[in-house]
Amino acid sequence: MESLFYIAAVTALASTVLVVTGKNASHALIYLIVSLLSVAVIFFLLGAPFAAALEIVVYAGAIVVLFLFVVMMLNLGKGSVARESAWLRPRMWILPCLLTIPLFLGLVYALSGESVQTAASMVGPKTVGTRLFGPYLLAVELAGILLLAALVGSYHLGRRYLSERREEV
């Protein structure tokens, strides 16, 4: 069990270093997905399968993929086709794949039928839900306001460039 934790932790660290040092935004984001996947494994091992699932569905699945879309859309232009073919060279995808292999092996191991003994207590979705809408209700409301503030702010800042672009056209 501990070995699984260490594999996930090392993968998370290595991929995060690659996110920070990466010069190409799309590549960095792909490493970020690997990093989030390995953090999800750690959550699972700590006895929080629901948090692990959310980490994959929300972060790796929705948010980073959205980032990727935006980055790729912004990059559209003359060189985009050349860049697209450059991305398909093995040099580009071999390292993320290598990094995910340990995670995949961990998955196989976990599914192989042997009961995986994780942390002492498991925190299921129901527990999370009753906590969030019970004692932590105020915090959930505040998180909503936080997102609203970010939304209003980014809307205003984004418009600054929209109007500039319109003037250019």
């Binding site: 105020l138 209003v152 702010g153 205003h156 109007s163």
Partner: protein, 484 residues
């Protein structure tokens, strides 16, 4: 179970509902005057509900926040600062942004975040309040649509404030790992020896993160650039609300968790305090930009205020520390808002940068006597000259420091104030010099509501300096009646 807690958080609820109303209003009809008026009303209603929220008597709400006299006093101060900011930004923004309505939504969210921090008694509400405040501030700093400086300031603030928040979150995680609790009141000494190391490391990281937000030396590098780049009303808001909220929660945390009982943490905070007082004042000496001068002055003031924090450990009596902090921050709010109010008033029709060079202020006493008088009162008060609010505030700090026998810090306070008088008086002196040749400042017509706002602030600075009894009685009453 009764719902007394709803009454306790009524000011927060009014602010949130008001935010929704404002958003719908903007969706249907974009009008700067309408948005400004409704924001003003929302803030006033929220402020008027504060006495009622205290009377509701439900202090702990879900263990997440603690509505007491101490916290609600700061909530009232933040609402006051927000009202002033709304009033002085109205004409200022007209010239700088094509749509100004979002600014008022951001002011409401930022104030809400600060008010949550003032009553936070749990790490979750602390970090949520802090992030609501910071995220609103990023957008407020670069609200004007032209100019590079606001963008630069916002980027710097975004990156450094993000680092500070991350440091704090890591610290909280370590504290949680060692003590198993996220609530301030349940934080006890951890049991095993290894956990204790984590625990104090976490406490240290938490304090470093908060020191970043308070712009204390050596975490002060961002302050002058951000203060200079942000629009003047927003700078006033950052200097008061952002700092006040962080300090309010820091003092509450220090009192409840007894973090200062650790000698090395107390020593670290003392070094930070002395550094801020001395370095902040020294760096201001050579500045020729009034916003940067006020930035360095705010670093020094945050350093002075740490004396009140250290009194908690020295005296083992949080009452004195609370009273000092409340009086000091009330004074600091009034004088800082007055100073930035004058700068905003003079910058209303400035084009790219604000009217911020010291040379622009030459002859202000003849061209705008009221503004010059208010700025003089504010600056003298920041320097701590008698008969101003700043003197009463500093006197309180000094008395608390003497009771706690914090002699080194008191010496730093005296030396820092002495250095400070030089650059504060230089601002006053510049205003009395004969007028400069270019008449950009003189030509500005100042709108009535701005004059009235800064005038009231200036009068308050002097009035509370001459007759502080009402404020002191209010503070004592709040501490005594509702506990803290």
């Amino acid at each position: 179970m009764s719902h007394a807690w709803v009454n306790s958080v009524m000011p927060h609820i009014v602010l949130t509902v008001g935010l929704m109303v404002l958003m719908l209003l903007v969706a249907f009809r974009r009008s700067h005057a309408l948005a400004m008026t409704s924001t003003f009303l929302i803030l006033v209603i929220a402020g008027a509900l504060i006495p009622q929220s205290l009377a509701a008597g439900s202090e702990e709400v879900f263990g997440l926040i603690r509505v007491d006299g101490y916290g609600q006093f700061f909530s009232g101060l933040f609402l006051l600062a927000a009202i002033v900011t709304v009033l002085i930004s109205f004409r200022y923004l007209d010239h700088r942004a094509s749509s100004c309505e979002e600014f008022y939504m951001l002011i409401l969210t930022a104030t809400l975040g600060a008010m949550v921090m003032a009553v936070a008694s749990h790490f979750a509400t602390l970090i949520l309040g802090l992030e609501i405040l910071s995220i609103s501030l990023y957008a407020m700093i670069c609200y004007p649509q032209e100019g590079r400086l606001p963008l630069e300031a916002a980027t710097k603030y975004l990156v450094l404030s993000g680092v500070a928040s991350t440091t704090m979150l890591f610290g909280m995680a370590l504290i949680y790992a060692a003590s198993g609790s996220l609530s301030f009141s349940a934080l006890g000494q951890p049991v095993d020896n290894q956990g204790e190391n984590y625990y104090w490391l976490g406490q240290g990281m938490l304090i470093v993160g908060l020191a970043f937000k308070l712009s204390l030396v050596p975490f002060h590098m961002w302050t002058p650039d951000v203060y200079q780049g942000a629009p003047a009303p927003v700078t006033g808001f950052i200097a008061t609300v952002s700092k006040g909220a962080v300090f309010a929660v820091l003092l509450r945390y220090a009192v409840i968790s007894d973090v200062l009982s650790n000698a090395s943490i107390a020593l670290g905070i003392s070094i930070i305090a002395v550094g801020s007082m001395v370095v902040g004042n020294l760096l201001a000496l050579l500045e020729k930009n009034i916003k940067r001068i006020l930035a360095f002055s705010s670093i020094a003031h945050a350093g002075y205020l740490l004396i009140a924090l250290l009194v908690v450990a020295a005296l083992d009596d949080p009452e004195i520390a609370r009273e000092t902090t409340m009086v000091y921050l009330a004074g600091y709010f009034l004088m800082t808002l007055a100073a930035f109010g004058v700068i905003s008033a003079l910058s209303i029709s400035a084009s790219d940068q604000d009217t911020e060079q010291l040379a622009d202020y030459q002859g202000l006493f003849w061209s705008h006597p009221v503004l010059a008088a208010v700025l003089t009162a504010a600056v003298l008060s920041l320097a701590g000259i008698p008969l101003t609010m700043g003197f009463i505030a500093k006197f309180y700090l000094f008395a608390a420091g003497v009771q706690g026998a914090l002699w080194v810090l008191l010496w730093a306070l005296v030396i820092g104030s002495a250095i400070g008088i030089y650059y504060y008086l230089r601002i006053v002196f510049t205003m009395t010099q004969s007028e400069s040749t270019d008449g950009s400042v003189r030509a500005t017509a100042i709108p009535v509501e701005t004059i009235v706002t800064v005038g009231v602030l200036g009068v308050a600075v002097i009035l509370f300096g001459v007759y502080p009894t009402p404020l002191i009685e209010l503070v004592r009453g709040l501490i005594g009646a509702f506990g803290a």
